[in-house]
Each structure stands twice: as structure tokens, then as C-alpha cells.
């Protein structure tokens, strides 16, 4: 199969509004609100109508959903896990650099 597919790299050069984020991640606006309040997502803009999310937010939402579903953690727990995972990744990268 040598078909070419339309692809998009979900990096921080791409931003999305709250509705696009909801459609892509199949979550309600309520969930996005909660994630913003919990500090998991940090959008640009001051109100939900003007919020712009980096495309990196998609992965954060997906991981949060999977952690909630598979490990039965609540939202603050998932937020903590995400922060710790980020920190772990940074430490691992530093370790690789010095070893």
C-alpha cells in the first residue's frame, strides 16, 4: 500500500481552540475546563472562548484519560502523575547527557 496520508505533527507550533480539542480528544468542554483548572493544560487566552491550546495538549489529555481509565486515579492524581513523568523525563535526559 503506497498511499500517502494526510498527516499533522502535533507539536507546539500548532494551536487549537477548545472545540477542536474536544472533538479530537472526544471529551466535553467540562473536562477541558477541569484540566485547565487543575493546571494540566495551560492555554493562551483569558476566557474559554479565546483559549488556544498547543497541540501538545492532545497527548496530555489522552494520557490523562488513559491513566484515569486504566489505573483508576482521579484528576488531581493524574495531574500529579503527569508532572512527575515530565520531571522524570527531564532527569533521564540529563543523566544521558552526563553519562
Amino acid at each position: 500500500m503506497n498511499q500517502e496520508f494526510h498527516y499533522i505533527v502535533l507539536d507546539d507550533s500548532m494551536t487549537l481552540g477548545v472545540n477542536e480539542i474536544c472533538t479530537l480528544c472526544r471529551v466535553g468542554v467540562e473536562m477541558v475546563n477541569e484540566l485547565v483548572n487543575e493546571g494540566v493544560l495551560v492555554p493562551e487566552g483569558t476566557s474559554p472562548e479565546t483559549w488556544r491550546f498547543s497541540a501538545v495538549a492532545i497527548k496530555r489529555i489522552q494520557v490523562t484519560l488513559r491513566l484515569q481509565r486504566d489505573l483508576r486515579v482521579n484528576l488531581p492524581g493524574a495531574a500529579l502523575a503527569l508532572d512527575l513523568l515530565d520531571e522524570l523525563e527531564e532527569l533521564r535526559a540529563q543523566l544521558k547527557k552526563i553519562s
Binding site: F5, Y7, I8, V9, R26, R66, A81, L85, A93
Partner: protein, 320 residues
């Protein structure tokens, strides 16, 4: 087909209580969850423990499973007994329910329901009234640093539901060739629109999300877009400031060392990292001065001459 020892998978005894089963599963699930554990085998392990738990948490399924387990020997090829009724084959999950999509053939031969959460006919009647976007698929794609540096094509194989054109849905392995765009970095996702599972009814296809994982490289390490290399140099190259051929992901480039460089000095090769269309990555070269061993009399004399000519105390900071 191989027999699966679910008790061994969860590391519990055959007479473990339901609480022990749950505890063992939860502990292992936290440890091996693929979002938490970056090991390449974590995902496989997580599926195995999920499958084991799916059976052992359910009184009926566990009883049925134990019935085989007592007769089974390690050297036996596993086959369900001929009188095995498919009464367990109705444990299907609808859309949104727990997916058994990734469970083993062993599981499916006992409990069914795996590959197709509902029979093809059920699905089409379901589809007549409901239209919904197909499920999204997630996969990891492992690439080399060179793939990211230059951009590449990769063929991946994944199980997804497709429509055979006559309204029958099946799950089957399919290969697709995907473009690895230049400058993707580890952990980033690529979204392939409409390459997920087929939709319900007239619903659109789901999306495919590919997460980038880097294969370890023999020379370079990376941090985000930056590439790091430790460059061994001789004392005279470091002192005199020679031009040294340095490997980069795009081939060798000449790097002029500043004279009197020391071990640990960091030099930057601009834009030699994992640059995308919008963001630049650089290569950082850390010098490591390697001392040639003094093996012959002549070589030792040369070092002695250096000691006289260039009195130097690298430990002056220590005082004394």
C-alpha cells in the same frame, strides 16, 4: 497456541483470594502502564496482566479457566476441549466498554469476544440507527535519529476494523506507509486523519495517532531538538586548536577547536540538531582530552620534557 498461566503473569498462587488478585493487578498495572513505563516491553506486559486480570477477577471465568489449568502440562499444545461451550463467548463489550481487542488467541479461544466486540451483523444493525466516528487508534513508531534528521518513510502494521464493501466489518492487520516528517522528536505525536477504525453507520473514520520513539544511537544522545556528542581529542589538538572532523546526523563536518581547550568545553554546531520547519535544533560537542599512553622510553622522555617546559597545576583550586 500457547497456554497462558494467568497466575504466573500476576505472580500469585492458584488459591489467591479475590483481594490478592486485585492487589497484584493494581500494583503491576501501575508499574507497567505504557504511559508511565517507557520500556519497549511495557505495553506488551500491561496487556498480559490486563488479560490475566480480566479472567481472574471474574468468578465464572476464573472457574472455567481453572478447569483447564488442572489438566494442562507445560509441554502440551493448548486446545480447548471439544465439549467447551461458547457460553462465555457473549461477554462482549460495546463501543466505549472495556476493549478486549488486544487479548491473546488463548483468551479468545476460551472467552471469545476479543477481536470483534460484536458480530458483524450486530454492528450493521447497530449502524443503521447510530452514526458515530470510528475509534481512534494509537501506536508507537520507533525511528532512528537519522530518520528524524532527514525525514523518512516507515511502513507500520496495525489491527484495525475495516469495511469489506458489503457492510461487514472485520478487524485485520493492515500495513500503511507513513511519512516521518523532518524534525519530529521523541514523545511527539503525528495525527493521520481518518486512518483509525471505520465509523459506525455513516460516521467518519477515527484518527490514527502515532507516537515517536527514538531508537538508541551509538554516538549521539538527544534532549528535545538538541543532539549531544562527546568528542575525544588529543592534547595537541586541544592545545593548538586543530580542525577536527566531527560526525553529525547529516555527515561529517570540520570543527575548528579554540586553542587551549580543555576537557568539558562545549561547542555548538548551529542547526545540526533535529530542526523542523519552524524550530531549530543544534548539536553540542563536548570535548574530552585523551592522553596518549607513555609506553616507550622516548615517549616517557617527551612527557618529562613537557613537565619541565610547561609547569602546570590543574589542581591549583584545591590550594596547598
Amino acid at each position: 497456541m500457547d497456554y497462558k498461566d494467568y497466575y504466573k503473569t500476576l505472580n500469585i498462587s492458584r488459591d489467591a483470594s479475590p483481594e490478592e488478585v486485585k492487589r497484584a493487578y493494581r500494583k503491576m498495572a501501575r508499574k507497567y502502564h505504557p504511559d508511565v513505563n517507557k520500556d519497549v516491553d511495557a505495553e506488551k506486559k500491561f496487556k498480559e496482566i490486563s488479560e490475566a486480570y480480566e479472567v481472574l477477577k471474574d468468578v465464572e471465568k476464573r472457574k472455567a479457566y481453572d478447569t483447564f489449568g488442572s489438566d494442562w502440562r507445560a509441554d502440551q499444545e493448548f486446545k480447548p476441549p471439544p465439549n467447551w461451550k461458547s457460553r462465555y463467548h457473549k461477554t462482549s463489550a460495546g463501543p466505549g466498554g472495556a476493549s478486549t481487542e488486544h487479548f491473546s488467541d488463548f483468551f479468545e479461544s476460551l472467552f471469545g469476544g476479543g477481536r470483534s466486540p460484536f458480530g458483524a451483523e450486530d454492528l450493521s444493525s447497530f449502524g443503521r440507527e447510530h452514526h458515530g466516528r470510528g475509534d481512534d487508534l494509537h501506536a508507537k513508531v520507533s525511528i532512528t535519529l537519522e530518520d528524524s534528521y532527514h525525514g523518512a518513510k516507515r511502513t507500520i502494521t496495525l489491527n484495525r476494523t475495516t469495511d469489506d464493501g458489503r457492510g461487514h466489518l472485520t478487524i485485520q492487520p493492515q500495513s500503511l506507509q507513513v511519512t516521518i516528517p523532518k524534525g519530529v522528536i521523541e514523545g511527539q505525536q503525528i495525527r493521520l486523519e481518518g486512518q483509525g477504525n471505520v465509523g459506525y453507520g455513516r460516521g467518519a473514520h477515527g484518527n490514527l495517532f502515532l507516537e515517536i520513539v527514538f531508537e538508541p544511537h551509538p554516538l549521539f544522545t538527544v534532549s528535545k531538538r538538541d543532539v549531544f556528542l562527546v568528542l575525544p581529542v588529543t592534547p595537541w589538538e586541544a592545545a593548538l586548536g586543530s580542525a577536527v572532523a566531527v560526525p553529525t546526523l547529516g555527515g561529517k563536518v570540520d570543527l575548528k577547536l579554540p586553542a587551549n581547550s580543555q576537557t568539558g568545553r562545549k561547542l555548538r554546531l548551529k542547526n545540526r540538531g533535529l530542526s523542523s520547519k519552524t524550530q531549530a535544533g543544534h548539536q553540542y560537542v563536548t570535548l574530552a582530552v585523551y592522553t596518549p599512553p607513555a609506553e616507550t622510553v622516548e615517549q616517557r622522555q617527551l612527557y618529562e620534557k613537557m613537565a619541565k617546559l610547561m609547569p602546570y597545576n590543574p589542581r591549583s583550586e584545591f590550594g596547598g
